[in-house]
């Protein structure tokens, strides 16, 4: 059995979500190759070749793949993936964008967001915002799968010595083009891979007050997140959203501030190792999942916490 893992990267660095996906591939017990599709992405290929347990790194280095346009990447992955039993990618916004196209091109189902490999054809995945875990069995000869990265510890990124092979095939579907990107530059760790996350909710009252989280995040090396309520209210941008329809996180420490704990939010953070909730409403559902709950006015508790860390 053979598995193709699709690398998540930004043309210069290999993202850790790729390593989580390799770990899931190892749980399936197959030979593993990695596909790196991008432009001027040689450094990514080198990093991928160092991942322990990988046989071959296939590199498609072409301007058509620079911005990960789904129309182009999906054609490439469907072509390369035709020779594999399994195609795995991390459930990141980027891979979620193109992998279902791959499944449709291959006329097979996609199994989204798996959290466990039960056997070669049977997997577990959360549905209904994680309120239910479904076990699903695939009848397809070829499995196309996205992996919930928080469910797997990263495979070692060093110690491997995979061979690197260049792919010449260029697929440009001619349906789409890149216009621009506005990506906020931040010194903070990425939400999905941070070991500490502090998130604010509607209780923060406005976007300005999110600054109260900055000092604590600085001291803890934390990423800053938000609930959907805070995003809906326009306090902060949507890429900070933790929850069913936002990012799924599972840090060592998750601090929920002014978040009531709607099921959609819990779906995105309840697998965190330690959960702290700070909320002035002692009946807030967030306290049902919190290891440590502090019933307090966040405008008093946050400055005090920052001072005492």
């Amino acid at each position: 059995m053979s598995t193709l893992v699709i690398a998540e990267h930004d043309n210069s660095t290999l993202k850790v979500s790729t390593l989580n996906t390799v770990a899931a591939a190892q749980a399936m017990g197959a030979d593993i190759d990695i596909l790196v599709a991008g432009a001027n992405c040689g450094a990514v290929a080198t990093a991928a070749a160092a991942v322990l347990g990988v046989g071959k790194v296939l590199v498609a280095d072409n301007a058509a793949y620079e911005h990960q346009l789904a129309e182009n990447i999906s054609l490439l992955v469907a072509e390369v993936g035709a020779g594999y039993d399994n195609i795995l990618a991390p459930a990141t916004p980027n891979c979620k964008n193109f992998l279902p196209r791959v499944a449709a091109l291959l006329d097979v189902a996609q199994i989204s967001d798996i959290t466990s490999v039960e056997s070669a054809d049977t997997f577990q995945r959360p549905i209904y915002a994680g309120n239910v875990i479904a076990t699903v069995q695939s009848a397809d000869a070829k499995k196309v799968i996205t992996v919930r990265t928080t469910a797997y510890d990263a495979a070692p990124g060093e110690g491997g010595s995979a061979t690197i092979e260049s792919l010449d095939a260029v697929h440009d579907a001619g349906l789409s083009s890149f216009v621009r990107e506005e990506v906020a530059v931040s010194d903070r760790p990425e939400l999905t891979s941070a070991s500490v996350v502090i998130s604010g909710g509607r209780g923060m009252q406005n976007g300005e007050n999110f600054k109260l989280l900055d000092g604590i995040a600085d001291k803890l090396g934390a990423a800053i997140g938000a609930s959907r309520a805070a995003v809906d209210a326009g306090f902060v941008p949507n890429d900070m959203q933790v929850g069913q329809t936002g990012k799924i996180v599972a840090p060592d420490l998750y601090i929920a501030v002014g978040i009531s704990g709607a099921i959609q939010h819990l779906a995105g953070m309840k697998d965190s190792k330690v959960i702290v909730a700070i909320n002035k409403d002692e009946d807030a559902p967030i306290f049902q999942v919190a290891d440590y709950g502090l019933v307090a006015d966040l405008f008093e508790a946050l400055p005090e916490l920052e001072a005492k860390l």
């Binding site: 449709a104 549905i127 309120n131 076990t135 699903v136 069995q137 990107e181 069913q244 290891d291």
Partner: protein
């Protein structure tokens, strides 16, 4: 320009769904159903395109048994012009939904197809992208802004760390994210009017699609429960517990 909007009937987002005791499926008895929130945003966007004079007709389509006509009527009350139900007698997999929608595209020839990015029951996030591949159209997924120009659509997308804008040749697929718009409420007169709007029913046969099944749900179960935690008295106790009991900060 014709705009096709796909809508799905799902459990209301406020309902906490549970697995049945025998693990055979989720318990949906006497549960409130609604239009999937992302699909509602899709309908709103299509209706705004019509109000802006860009769209000439908005068609709402849903795949499912007869009960999904309720969500089609909701879409009609929000401003869609007519509806299509594809009768499947129950839930089908995203790939099949995409094939059925491709069949509807072939009949209706819309310039733009708008779907929700994911439904809050299956949480698959697949149908729009699959439809893009099957119809050989460009896609703007997780959209936060849609601007239609001559022969093209510019879609601004929610990506890791910010926003990306792509330019797609029409016809094209858009899937909605939550900041695209805020859906309106249907007025009572519009709800009454919606009852009289045209709603056609197709079978998969009419669309030349075989309903297949690639996945079997073996069982469903509740997720592992978290152990109940404690309430701390003040910030001092919280910091102490995090340092000395949980050992997650130093």
């Amino acid at each position: 320009m014709k705009v096709l909007v796909a809508v799905k009937r799902v459990v209301d987002y406020n309902v906490k769904v549970r697995a049945k005791a025998d693990g055979s499926d989720v318990d949906l008895n006497n549960v409130k159903m609604a239009i999937n929130p992302f699909c509602e945003i899709a309908v709103e966007e299509a209706v705004r395109l019509k109000e802006a004079g860009i769209a000439t007709e908005v068609i709402a389509v849903s795949v499912g048994d007869k009960s999904c006509q309720e969500q089609i009527r909701t879409s009609l009350a929000l401003g869609a012009d007519r509806g299509i139900q594809v009768e499947t007698g129950g839930s089908v997999e995203p790939l099949v939904v995409a094939k059925l929608l491709k069949g509807v595209i072939d009949k209706e020839q819309p310039q733009l197809v708008i779907l929700g990015k994911q439904s809050i029951d299956g949480d698959n996030n697949q149908t729009g992208q699959m439809l893009g591949a099957l119809a050989n159209m460009g896609q703007g997924t997780f959209a936060s802004e849609v601007v239609v120009e001559d022969g093209h659509v510019n879609v601004t997308r929610e990506i890791d760390g910010g926003l990306q804008t792509v330019r797609l040749t029409l016809p094209a697929i858009v899937t909605t994210d939550l900041r695209l718009n805020e859906p309106r409420y249907a007025s009572l007169p519009n709800i009454m009017k919606a009852k009289k709007k045209q709603l056609d029913v197709y079978t998969p046969d009419d669309l030349g699609v075989a309903v297949t099944s690639h996945l079997t749900q073996v069982k469903v179960e509740p997720p592992a429960e978290r152990k109940a935690g404690i309430k701390v008295a003040d910030v001092d106790e919280l910091v102490d517990k995090l340092k000395n009991e949980a050992k997650v900060i130093s």
